[in-house]
Point group: C2
Chain length 191, copies 2
Amino acid sequence: MTSTSGAARPLRADARRNRAKVLQTAYEVFAAEGLGVPIDEIARRAGVGAGTVYRHFPTKEALYQAIVVDRVEHLVGTARELAESADPGEAFFGFFDLMTTAGATDKGLVDALAGEGFDIEAAIPEHEQAFKDAMRELLVRAQAAGAVRADVTVADVKTLMVGCQAMQRYGGDTAPTRVLEVVREGLRPAR
Amino acid sequence: MTSTSGAARPLRADARRNRAKVLQTAYEVFAAEGLGVPIDEIARRAGVGAGTVYRHFPTKEALYQAIVVDRVEHLVGTARELAESADPGEAFFGFFDLMTTAGATDKGLVDALAGEGFDIEAAIPEHEQAFKDAMRELLVRAQAAGAVRADVTVADVKTLMVGCQAMQRYGGDTAPTRVLEVVREGLRPAR
DNA sequence: GGCTAACCGGGGCGCACGTTCCGTATAGTA
DNA sequence: TACTATACGGAACGTGCGCCCCGGTTAGCC
């Protein structure tokens, strides 16, 4: 939840407060209801005017870009921590679960990953890259340990994650446990 | 691509022609670009006025409901044919492929299944039911033949299909073959 | 050919949403 | 306390889209 870039003059106290409130509110609302929520609504829930939102984030896309970047950075951090852990297979599947769970709780992230509303890869290529790198680490280790089939690529895994997130979001009547279990099983080496 | 219900007075020739043109155009456009395309655009491409579209389909939702119903009926028919076929496992996975392929070529269907824009289950419960019944037939036979793990339900399979469609639609850089292969593998009985 | 009911087109209404503008309030400073 | 740069709020604007309406046209029938 930090700033966008280069150090401009320090914000006035009220401005910094409002910026934080907007960011926090937007994070919660987007996570709960997806990227379709109007700016006015976010402003209202944050207790500020719409103009204030636009002063801090020149465009709606800039707003959830800030949020998604933060989210992705966290995920990358977690992935790196997991890569240190003992069991490569456990680490990989732990991260896989984390990502799919994130999809269940954060509708905004799913929208973003699915390109619903804006295009991550084009908007923040370096974060996309960092994410892929972290995941590659987990993947190759798990594959070397024989926990994951050798022929899947990082792109495959990412695609599978998106699919699993869609399942979580969609499958209302299904317990998510079993469908995720199916995908995990499919990722294991052939019998 | 038939009518909605009860036999009203037969349509005039030009009306029937226009209705067909709209339906055909809408089918193609929705499939190619999803349900987000404006009615005016469909009217334009069909070579009619927007008013004409609304005379035949009182609402945008009614329009793609007509299309989705038609699509689902076809799929159910195919599922029943497959259920007759020799190898239950082949039949099941053949249908699974068919559904995921449908997702790749028909963006509108994916939107509809995912509840993006409207809710199938609420709108056309009897078709939803027929779809589930046909799929159950395929599933239990495949399970009895030991081709599919015994603990997955019809709802699970449907959820997995939606997920696979999302993968197709999303995974631009990935060859869809491998990710679908992973899911299929996961559906097989435990080793 | 003439008559009427059915149908057509496309302009227009209402609403939602992203974005901008400007008069007002306030934090920071001397 | 007085002064100013900075920030605030929310009314207002433009656009896009679903949907309706009405003057003109045409199919079907005598």
